[in-house]
């Protein structure tokens, strides 16, 4: 399956993908972040249950401490 991840086309194995699987596959390690699928923010407690589909536009933004 192909998705748009942070404005770039990326290919993943399989037909669907959980957010948690995408994060592990891409080794996105910093713990605090925003994930948006097609413009909709998905809260952290739904990373294990929200499916990313072929063609989805996914944004992953790290939130670094400091202010």
């Amino acid at each position: 399956m192909k998705i748009i991840l942070n404005n770039r086309v990326e290919e993943f194995p399989g037909e669907t993908l959980l957010i948690s699987e995408m994060l592990a596959f891409k080794k996105f390690s910093y713990k605090m972040r925003i994930v948006k699928i097609n413009g909709l923010l998905i809260p952290r407690e739904r990373y294990e249950s929200t499916i990313i589909h072929d063609g989805d536009n996914v944004q992953m933004i790290y939130l670094m401490s400091g202010g």
């Binding site: 910093y30 713990k31 605090m32 972040r33 925003i34 948006k36 413009g39 923010l41 809260p43 952290r44 944004q59 933004i61 790290y62 939130l63 670094m64 401490s65 400091g66 202010g67």
Partner: protein
């Protein structure tokens, strides 16, 4: 466009600022100087000497609530700006109430957990309200790494998105100031595209 026209336009808007530390105090001052009419500022902390390396407060204000001191400082810059101060700790329940009717919200927390909580709350509970976040500003130098990204119409990110603040990588005035002013610049850009609602109080 003349500055007097810009200022008169911005006077009709209300901006929420979540946190009055390095990002929030400097962003608020830039917005007040620009003429944004109402600032809703939320912070529960008091000023400590260590804050003076980057936050827009004075040595004589150590021990004061940040919201009270910031309101005082903004009044000295521009007494026409209305500052509404909140001192309760922000959470998922009170954020939509405290920042209700704000045209834009600025995320200005120190803690990454609080940044995430605010983003989740504003983006899910206040759909349509633009959120301008700061992410990655600790240390010094690397000006070229600091960037601005518009994710979509409701989410804007300012910062290098990679450095995390800590003992050996403290947030300091120059880089915090760049990001705080980038956030203020983003707010001004969003509001300058808006039609002013003359009927709202």
């Amino acid at each position: 466009m003349r500055f007097s026209e810009i200022r008169d336009h911005l006077a009709g808007f209300r901006v929420g600022i979540a946190g009055a530390g390095g990002l929030g105090s400097n962003c608020a001052v830039a917005l007040a100087r620009s003429g944004v009419g109402t600032l809703v500022i939320s912070d529960f902390d008091v000023i400590e000497p260590a804050n003076l390396n980057r936050q827009c407060f004075f040595a004589s204000q150590v021990g004061m609530l940040k919201t009270v001191a910031l309101k005082e400082n903004i009044a000295r810059i521009n007494p026409d700006i209305i500052v509404i101060a909140h001192t309760e700790k922000l959470d998922k329940l009170n954020i939509p109430e405290i920042f209700a009717s704000c045209d834009v919200i600025v995320e200005a927390f120190d803690s990454d957990k609080m940044k995430e909580m605010l983003a989740e709350t504003v983006q899910t509970r206040m759909p349509g309200t633009p959120l301008v976040m700061g992410s990655g500003l600790a240390g010094w130098g690397k000006s070229e790494a600091i960037k601005f990204r518009k994710i979509d119409e409701t989410l804007y990110i300012c910062g290098d998105e990679s450095t995390t603040a800590g003992e050996e990588m403290p947030p300091m005035a120059p880089r915090v100031g760049i990001v705080a002013n980038m956030q203020a610049n983003t707010v001004v850009e969003i509001l300058m595209k808006r039609t002013r609602d003359y009927f709202r109080q």
